[in-house]
């Protein structure tokens, strides 16, 4: 999208063209249709939320909190700040606690999140996401992975990889180091970027676990066998990891039996402290298409309501850049009229609309039936239909027949 260096746009904020919007809507419609078919209902949360929802330990990482857009609202004289929604899951957890406490809810949304990024990197990201809240733990995460996979398949994105991990593994190991939460979080982020020094520092801080750490941080796995190796290398020395490794192994087996190829990468869920269990991510060519996981403590942290939960979100704008133009929609009846024929044109437009026939006045292009509107009548081919109630009714009937034939 070439734009002049002196654009009036704010840095990191992006306009979408007509074609880009058509692709974005295709992503959202595909997601919505699949989510509804799976029993989810659509919700929307406000763009502005209280900052304190996001600041507690166990919500967002300090690095992400350092990039949120927080400010004093027009009535913020008390000094408490509000924030432009930096993450939808926390907002959905708040909504659940306030509206649906005690129920099992399957919710989905299509809305943006806003986070500062340097330069012209995107600061507003549109996402589509689905959350299951209140359901006792089972295989919900795997079901959500299958839902996401179905949607990505439907968008024609076959070339992708599925990565899974368990948030409890690295968290337990970082806790063992004795570092402060900020040091742990910073090291975790560096490990995600493959920073060798950070990996070395963590390995040094955990003597006796060198083999397990190498396996964890410097290699990836393809299934339950890898998890078994991890359990052997780490299990006896680190009993606090056992539950996480068992869950990871179970999910990996289930995915494999469902025919879903996946890779196990231990450090996976950046920026989000709320994940408590299995986490997953879809990527293509290093670009993240979407991610999700289990977050059993978040709803209680935000609202005081104890409710297990898991969910995922896809990045609509990334997907938009990767998919094909949607197939042309239903053909329209194009009314071509000069200004002096506006009145008969609008009369016919209303008559067609009342019969459920898609029509538009002077469209930029035509892909179906065309009627030329003249001051003296409606020309269709060589025939001119008079401008009268009878004439309009006859023309509508004719167009209805032709449209059915043409569009079918």
């Amino acid at each position: 999208m070439p734009e002049s260096a002196k654009s009036l746009r704010c840095p990191g904020m992006i306009d979408l063209s007509g074609a880009e919007m058509r692709r974005l809507r295709r992503v959202e419609e595909r997601f919505s249709a699949a989510a509804r078919a799976w029993g989810f209902e659509e919700i929307r949360t406000p763009l502005i939320e209280q900052l304190h929802l996001y600041t507690r330990s166990g919500t967002l990482s300090p690095q992400l909190l350092g990039r949120v857009y927080s400010f004093l609202d027009w009535d913020g004289w008390s000094g408490e700040r509000v924030v432009l929604r930096p993450d939808s899951t926390v907002a959905v957890a708040r909504l659940y606690g306030e509206r649906y406490a005690g129920q099992v809810k399957k919710l989905f949304y299509a809305q943006p999140v806003l986070r500062f990024a340097a330069g012209d990197e995107r600061r507003e990201s549109w996402q589509v996401g689905a959350e299951v809240i209140g359901a006792s733990a089972g295989n919900t995460e795997v079901e959500l992975i299958v839902l996401g996979d179905t949607i990505l398949d439907g968008l024609g994105l076959q070339e992708r990889e599925l990565l899974i991990s368990h948030s409890g593994i690295v968290r337990a190991l970082l806790a063992r180091t004795g570092w402060t939460p900020v040091e742990q979080s910073e090291t975790y982020d560096l490990i995600l970027t493959g920073d060798a020094a950070a990996i070395g520092r963590m390995t040094e801080a955990l003597p006796g676990l060198e083999v397990g750490m190498t396996l964890l941080l410097e290699s990836v796995g393809n299934g339950p066998e890898y998890v078994a190796n991890l359990r052997t290398a780490l299990g006896s020395e680190t009993p606090e990891l056992t539950a996480s490794l068992v869950e990871l192994s179970g999910a990996s087996s289930l995915l494999a039996s469902a025919g879903l190829r996946h890779t196990i990468v231990t450090p996976l869920a950046r920026d989000f402290e709320y994940y408590t269990g299995l986490v997953f991510q879809w990527r293509t060519d290093g670009e993240v298409l979407g991610s999700g996981g289990r977050y059993d403590n978040l709803v209680e942290l935000v609202t005081g309501e104890d409710a297990p939960a898991c969910g995922f979100a896809l990045d609509s704008e990334v997907l938009e850049t990767l998919i094909e133009e949607p197939a042309p929609g239903q053909a329209h009846i194009a009314l071509l009229a000069k200004p002096e024929a506006s009145a008969p044109a609008l009369r016919l437009l209303r008559a067609l609309a009342s019969h459920g026939l898609p029509a538009s006045l002077n469209p930029p292009s035509t892909n179906g039936l065309t009627v030329e509107v003249l001051p003296e009548g409606y020309r269709r081919g060589q025939n001119i239909t008079p401008i009268s109630d009878e004439g309009v009714a006859a023309l509508v009937r004719q167009l209805e027949d032709e449209a059915r034939e043409a569009f079918d």
């Binding site: 600041t55 300090p62 350092g66 000094g79």
Partner: protein, 470 residues
């Protein structure tokens, strides 16, 4: 003793045509900065002598152009690129970078004066509620502190001074910069954490470093021990925070300029106070009337404190109230008495050579000179922003200023939004009012919802005494 270094000798040949714009601090860092410049052959006798000139001449002309600012303004001016370099406290830079990490300011090196510690103070006895209140003159650093410590629900009271006076009654903890000669609030507060050590530092604009020869500042400067030369920090008399005895009515009284007349207003209202007079005060003067609790804070901070319910009444300026309401239009604070003192006429002030008859023609002149962004400086940035919005100024930039604001126009701003008692300061600095805005006087403010409070009758009785005194 002057230290003549090789870099200075080279200056004479290499930098004949280069004029470096350098921002110097007034206030506590002034004598240290003057001694430092003197030791490095960059001195300004005018600056060293404590002249009030905004642009003191360098003793060695043609090399460096000085401009004196309040030190809190220097990081912003250097970050904006209005000045290539400057001297200010490192904590003032950290405050800017905490909120705007990509700002174009670089700390070049610490200087050996103005040492202080950024600390967290808590009262000995404190019971924080669900929402922790942090008071600070450094609100961005306070936000960072709260986020890093994962304090769930908190609010930051951004104040203009006397932050350590707020706990325990009006805040749960204070984030303050304590010079090494200070102790926290007479010993009633404990330092629970030292966040960082700071000192004066040499700063530069990032783009200037990339494109302008600043080698005269980057070479081996003599870090003269100027701690002794620095002025003794004027330490306000402190009174220890009293044990919390809830009183019926809480009133905030002003320090600073308004302290010249507020004690007389109190006397006329029959409010007898121990240790609050025209020359000096303590943070918590004792009222003869046991039902009245008094605290001395900055007038700029009072509307917010009344709005949040910390005080029932406050004596402040109408300008402070309007600045608060410009930011928070629905804030429940209102003027309930005009105390008819300290009249300031507020105006949009411009350079007298502009030859503009009104704002519209002034904007046309500035635009014709290629200035697309109209810069509006003010110590009351919310009023400046409101002024620009209401007049549809188009592309504008509000420059928050801590002090010495008359020196901003015309070099660093096109418009100054400011009040003046006589207009003589404007005249002395070549400024003229382009548009009169409002008259500000000392006023009594209260919470709009006071009728619902149990002490309403007592608050109104005290307010009536002030109304009669006016």
């Amino acid at each position: 003793m002057k230290v003549w270094l090789p870099w200075f000798a080279s200056l004479k040949t290499k930098h004949e045509k280069r004029l470096i714009k350098f921002a110097l601090p007034t206030g506590d860092l002034r004598s240290g900065a003057a001694a430092f410049l003197e030791a490095n052959g960059l001195g300004s006798s005018e600056y060293s002598a404590g002249s009030r000139a905004f642009r003191p001449a360098a003793d060695e002309p043609g090399r460096i152009a000085y401009r004196v600012f309040r030190e809190r303004d220097i990081p912003i001016q250097v970050a904006l690129g209005n000045y290539h370099a400057g001297i200010c406290s490192s904590v003032a830079v950290d405050e800017v970078l905490a909120r705007h990490p990509n700002e174009g300011i670089v700390k070049l090196r610490p200087l050996p004066f103005g040492r202080a510690s950024l600390v967290i103070l808590v009262p000995r006895e404190n019971q924080a509620g669900e929402c922790l209140t942090i008071v600070s003159e450094y609100p961005n650093l306070a936000e960072s502190f709260a986020l890093e410590r994962r304090i769930g629900r908190y609010r930051v009271l951004a104040v203009n001074g006397s932050a350590s006076c707020y706990p325990p009654e009006d805040a749960d903890l204070a984030l303050v910069s304590l010079s090494h000669r200070e102790s926290p609030d007479g010993g009633a507060l404990d330092i629970v954490e030292r966040l960082s050590e700071s000192s004066a530092c040499l700063v530069a604009n990032r783009k200037a470093l990339a494109s302008i020869d600043l080698s005269m500042l980057l070479a081996g400067l003599s870090l003269v021990r100027s701690e002794q030369a620095a002025s003794q920090h004027r330490q306000a008399a402190q009174s220890p925070a009293p044990a919390r005895v809830p009183r019926a009515v809480r009133i905030a009284l002003p320090d600073g300029h308004q302290q010249r007349e507020a004690p007389e207003v109190c006397r006329r209202a029959g409010l007898k106070l121990d240790r609050y007079d025209e020359d000096a005060s303590v943070a918590r003067p004792l009222a003869a009337d046991e039902d009245i609790d008094v605290k001395v804070i900055r007038p700029q901070d009072m509307p917010q404190m009344v709005a949040v319910g910390s005080f029932d009444l406050a004596i402040t300026g109408r300008d402070c109230l309007l600045n608060h309401l410009a930011q928070f239009p629905s804030s429940p604070v209102e003027e309930i008495a005009n105390l008819e003192r300290q009249r300031y006429r507020w105006a949009a002030v411009v350079d007298q050579t502009l030859q503009a008859k009104d704002l519209e023609s002034a904007i046309a002149l500035w635009r014709a000179r290629g200035r697309e962004t109209i810069r509006i400086a003010s110590e009351y940035p919310n009023l400046a922003d409101q002024f620009a919005r209401e007049r549809h100024l188009g592309h504008y930039q509000v420059i928050p200023v801590v002090g010495a604001s008359e020196g901003f126009v015309p070099e660093d701003a096109e418009i100054l939004i400011e009040g003046s008692e006589t207009g003589r300061t404007w005249e002395a600095n070549g400024l003229v009012p382009l548009e009169w805005l409002f008259d500000s006087t000392m006023v009594l403010v209260a919470n709009k919802n006071r009728q619902a409070r149990r002490n309403y009758r007592l608050v109104e009785q005290l307010a009536d005494r002030f109304r009669q005194a006016a």
